[in-house]
C-alpha cells in the first residue's frame, strides 16, 4: 500500500466518506427519480436528528466517556416543544428555548455525576435516561399535539426551494465541531480521552472539561429532538431505543475510537449519512422481510470492521514512519471508557 493511500485511509472520515459514496451510488443505480431536490431534502431531513445527536455523542466518546441518555433527552425535548407551543411563532421560539434548556439541564446533571461525583458515565447516564423517559411520559401521556409552522414543516423545507434547512443545521454542526476541535477546549477533550492520568498531571482541568462535554452533548441531543419534531410534527413520549443504537452506530462507522482520544465528529456526521443511505439502499435491494434484522446487524458490524481499515492503515503508517513495531497496548481499544484510570478514583 502506498503511503499516500495509507495516509488517506488512516483518516476515519475519509473512509466513511468512501463507504457513503459507494452506498449512494448503489442506491441511485437501483432507483430512478432520486436526484431531485425533494428527495435530497427528504434524505437530509431524515438524517438531521441523527447527525446532530451523533455530534454530541462524539464529544463524549472522545473524552473517554459514555452516554446512554441520548434517547431520553431527545424525547424530552420533543414533548416539551409540542406541549409548550401553540400555533404562534413566539410560543414556538420560547418552546425551543425551553427544550434546549432542558437538554442543558440533563447534561449538567450528567456532568455533575460524572465529573464531580466520579460516578461512572454509563451508570449515571443510564439513570438520567430512565428519569428523562419518565418525565417525558408525565409531560405527554398520550402522543399527539402540534407545533407551529416554522418548526414543522418549516425546519424540514428548503429555503428558496433550493437549500434544505436541514443542510444548514448539519453545516452548523460541522462548523461548530471544527471550531471546538481547534480550540483549547478541544485539545483538552482529546488529551482527557487519550490518557486521563497524564492529562491531570499536565494541569488540564479534567473535571471542568468533562462537565462541559456533557453539557454540550445534552444541548445537542435537545437540538436533535427539535429536528426530530420537525419531521414528526407531533410529540411522542415513547423513545425508541433504536435511535440510541443508530447514534452509536454513526459514531462507530465514523471511526471514532470508543476508548477515547481519537476520532472526529466529521466522521460521525458522515456515519449518520451512511446509515440514512443504508436504509434506502437496503430498500432498493429488496431486503425487507423477516430477515431484515439479520442484515441490519451484519451490515452494522461489517461497516465498523471496515472502519478499522483506518486503524490498520494508521498503524502501518506509524510503523513505516518510526521504523518501530507498533505498540500493542495502544491498539487495544476494547475498553469502553478510559476514565478513572487512577485506582482510587472510583
Amino acid at each position: 500500500m502506498s503511503t499516500a493511500i495509507k495516509r488517506a485511509l488512516s483518516n476515519g472520515s475519509v473512509l466513511a466518506f468512501a463507504i457513503l459514496t459507494i452506498m449512494y451510488v448503489v442506491y441511485v443505480y437501483s432507483s430512478i427519480d432520486v436526484l431531485t431536490v425533494n428527495n435530497a431534502t427528504d434524505l437530509l431531513n431524515n438524517v438531521a436528528p441523527l447527525v446532530v445527536a451523533a455530534t454530541g455523542l462524539t464529544l463524549v466518546i472522545i473524552s473517554g466517556g459514555f452516554d446512554l441518555s441520548i434517547g431520553g433527552v431527545v424525547v424530552l425535548s420533543n414533548v416539551i416543544l409540542v406541549t409548550q407551543s401553540d400555533t404562534t411563532l413566539q410560543s414556538g421560539l420560547l418552546a425551543v428555548v425551553i427544550a434546549l434548556a432542558a437538554g442543558l439541564a440533563v447534561g449538567a446533571i450528567n456532568g455533575v455525576l460524572v465529573a464531580y461525583l466520579r460516578v461512572q458515565s454509563i451508570a449515571a447516564t443510564l439513570g438520567t435516561f430512565i428519569m428523562c423517559s419518565g418525565i417525558a411520559l408525565v409531560i405527554m401521556p398520550s402522543p399527539g399535539g402540534s407545533v407551529p409552522n416554522f418548526i414543522a414543516p418549516g425546519l424540514n423545507s428548503a429555503l428558496g426551494g433550493v437549500l434544505p434547512v436541514s443542510l444548514v443545521v448539519i453545516g452548523a454542526c460541522l462548523i461548530g465541531w471544527l471550531v471546538i476541535r481547534r480550540s483549547r477546549f478541544g485539545v483538552y477533550i482529546y488529551a482527557l480521552g487519550s490518557d486521563e492520568r497524564s492529562a491531570v498531571q499536565s494541569g488540564i482541568p479534567v473535571a471542568g472539561t468533562k462537565f462541559k462535554v456533557y453539557l454540550g452533548a445534552g444541548f445537542l441531543y435537545a437540538l436533535a429532538g427539535v429536528m426530530l419534531t420537525a419531521q414528526t410534527a407531533s410529540g411522542d413520549a415513547n423513545a425508541s431505543a433504536l435511535f440510541m443504537v443508530l447514534v452509536f452506530a454513526a459514531v462507530a462507522i465514523g471511526g471514532t475510537r470508543f476508548g477515547g482520544g481519537r476520532g472526529s465528529a466529521v466522521g460521525s456526521i458522515i456515519g449518520a449519512g451512511v446509515l440514512g443511505v443504508l436504509q434506502k439502499m437496503l430498500f432498493a435491494l429488496g431486503v425487507s422481510t423477516f430477515y431484515t434484522g439479520i442484515v441490519q446487524g451484519a451490515v452494522l458490524i461489517l461497516a465498523v470492521i471496515l472502519g478499522h481499515v483506518s486503524q490498520f492503515a494508521a498503524e502501518r503508517l506509524k510503523e513505516e514512519e518510526t521504523a518501530q513495531p507498533s505498540d500493542e497496548s495502544t491498539s487495544s481499544e476494547a475498553k469502553i471508557s478510559s476514565e478513572g484510570v487512577l485506582s482510587d478514583q472510583d
Binding site: F66, I109, L113, L117, R118, V119, Q120, S121, I122, A123, A124, L126, G127, T128, F129, I130, M131, C132, S133, G134, I135, A136, L137, V138, P141, A237, A241, V245, F248, A249, A252, F258, F290, Y291, T292, G293, I294, Q296, G297, A298, L300, I301, V304, I305, H308, Q311, E328, S329, S331, S332, E333, A334, K335, I336, S337, G340, V341, S343, D344, D346
Partner: protein
Amino acid sequence: MTKTSDARFGATKRFPIRGHTGYVLALLAVSVVLMPVSKLISPSLGSWTTVSAILVVSSMLALVGFGQGLVILVGELDLSLPSTVALAGVLTTAWLSVTPSVLTFLQILGIAAVIGLVNGIGVAFLRVPSFIMTLGMQLIVAGAALGYTKGTVPGTTPDFLASVMLGKWWGIPIPIFLLVGMAVVGTVIQQYTRFGRKLYAVGSNRATAELVGLRVGLIVTGAFVVSAIAAALTGMMLVGYGGGATLGMGDVYFLSSIAVVVVGGSSILGGRGSFLGTVAAAIFLTTIATLIQAVGISQGWQTFIYGFLIVAVIGLLNRDLYARAFAPVSRLMQRGRSAPAAAN
C-alpha cells in the same frame, strides 16, 4: 488488609473489602427495611408473599446479571442478552417441550454459546467495539428468532420447567433456593476459580495481563460465552415462570442487566466488583420497582422515580462514604484479628 484480597479486587484502597462489602450490605439492608415501611402503602405489602415474589423475580435478574457482570468485569459490554434470552425461550418451548431430554437442553445452551463465541471473536480478535458488536448480534439473533418462528412462537412450557419455577419446597418457592445457589456458585466462579481471577486481571489492566502471559483474547471470549449461556438459562427460567415464550420476553433485560451490575458496585472499567453486589442490586431494584408500582401512580412517574433512585444510589456510590460509615465496624473486626489496624 491482606495482599491476596487486594489482588482479588485489584484495588489498592484504604478500605478495599470493607468499602464494597459495606455497600452490598447497605443495599440489602435498605431492601429489608423497605419491607415494613411498605406497609404504609398497603397493609398487605411487606408480607412474606411480597418478599417471596420479589426474590423469585430477582433470581432471573441476578442470573442474567451474572453473565453481564463477567463481561463488564473484563471491561466490555454485552447488549445481545435480550435476544439471546428470547431465542433460548423460543427454542425451549419449541424443542424442549417436545423432547425434554438433556441433549436438547445442551443443544440450546450450545447455540447460546455460539452466540457468545461470535461476540467474543468480534470483540477480542476483530477489535470491533463491544457496544457495536453485541448490538449487531442483538439485531442478528432477534432477526433469526423472528425468521425461525415467522412471528408466532410455537410450543408450550415444558412441564419440568414449570414445576421448578412454580413449585415450592417446604413452602418456599424453588427459585429462591436457586437464587441462593446462584449467589454461591456465581461468587465461586467469579472470585475463586482461575478463570474468574483471570477475568479480574484482564479487567484491571489489560496490558499487564498480556505481559504476564494471559491469553486475553480467549479470556474475553470466555466471558462472552458464559454471558450468553447465563442469558439462555434465564430464558428457560422465564419460560417456566411466565408460562410461555414471546419474542420480546428478553427486552426488559436490555438496560436492567447493566443497571443491576453497576448498581451492584462493579466498575464499568472492569477489574472490580462482585456477584454478591449484583445479587443485592437485583433484590434492591426489584424491591423498589415493586413498591413503586404498588403506590399506584402513572407510568411516567413510576419510571422517573425508578431512574431517580438509581441515580441517587450510584451517586452515593462513592466508596469512601461507605468505607467511612463502616470504618468503626471494620476497626472492631480488625482488632479482633490482631492484624495492624488500617492506617487512617
